[in-house]
Symmetry: C2
DNA sequence: AATGAAAGGATTAAGCC
DNA sequence: GGCTTAATCCTTTCATT
């Protein structure tokens, strides 16, 4: 299987800014034919770089309530975390859930009114939360930019391009790419180190 | 201008899960013709509910580095905040920037290596940051779900449906919809109250 | 908002390098 | 293996009611 190249990155950038852009237009921009673009997009979906074609929606217009950032200390029993995260993601008010390495949750949501506490216990259950703190948000923005410097599947350890010799491994729920098994084990060590340092 | 109705919400949900879905398919699902769907999508874009058609990308596969959540205390001079935010959004490593009501920034990014401090000063400048803290992330998720209970443009104050009599107003960078001027001023008071309580 | 016609894109298949 | 061209099929748009 061929590596990712700069053309793939260009296609991604163009689709990020308008996912309904005609493939023929993309083809002109990157110097390929429309079927070639179509093939590459299919491949980008297959290897999981494109998760889905979706909308960027201004939820502030659809949903009342104040935008807040909630930091959640999930109660001790480990098994609770995934189910709490699920409940949150299924709640209409929730936009993002970040899981920290210490197994806390950081939630961005629009809560129905000022009573965040009762909304929270309604959503995830009373016993699931040890502690939480709330910060009022004035704005939420995301970057449609990919950056440009790193356009290949790069090894999470050494930064080299990952080719067909590479391996992939899921650590704490996230998929990382490695150019070789040695980088993979080194990264795992580093991650563990960093994680302990953060505690 | 006609109100938003449940059909608009269905269209949004369908496009959220696949933004390249043919309008004819959406038309079947909601019981309209394809041109009618096209018209509604155009309108949703015009009133700013749809910001853009885009991709949901698994950036962990494209970009090396550890995913982190950085809380930034931006240096005192007020004018610095927008420019710091801009610099961050333009950096390839940054995925989200949340602005709190207290004018702190919460940044989700994949930093090149463990040295977050130097990455940060390279990106936004040394003098822009007073203090920052870093949390290692194990996962980042977002919700493509709109929730379902509130499908109309709802008044940010009272929750009623906003019709052509409504007003809109931008507070701290976010656009809120109101059903009447009285709700608008009440909301502004409430917001100010909440904001002071959070400090 | 539906219909039907015209224009424009996407996808398939065959062939080239 | 990946690309291109050409043909077909499908989608979108526009004018009309």
């Amino acid at each position: 299987m061929r590596d990712l190249d700069e053309t793939d990155l260009e296609i991604l950038q163009l689709l990020l800014s308008n996912a309904r852009r005609p493939y023929s237009e993309i083809a002109d921009a990157v110097g390929l034919s429309a079927p070639a673009v179509s093939d590459r997009v299919t491949r980008l979906q297959e290897i999981g770089i494109i998760d889905r074609f979706t909308l960027d929606i201004d939820r502030s217009q659809l949903r009342k309530g104040l935008p807040v950032l909630i930091t959640l200390d999930v109660a001790a029993h480990e098994s609770a975390l995934p189910s709490v995260r699920e409940s949150l993601l299924e709640a209409g008010a929730v936009e993002h859930v970040f899981t920290t390495a210490e197994a806390d949750l950081v939630v961005v949501a629009r809560v129905p009114d000022n009573d965040v506490a009762s909304w929270l216990t309604d959503t995830v259950g009373r016993e699931a939360v040890d502690e939480f703190s709330v910060t009022l948000l004035a704005g939420t923005e995301w970057s449609p930019d990919l950056g440009g410097t790193e356009f290949a599947l790069s090894c999470a350890q050494c930064g080299n391009t990952v080719d067909s010799e590479g391996t992939a491994s899921r650590i704490d729920g996230t998929l990382y790419q490695f150019c070789c098994p040695s980088c993979e084990s080194r990264f795992a060590e580093k991650y563990e180190q960093f994680r302990q340092g953060a505690e």
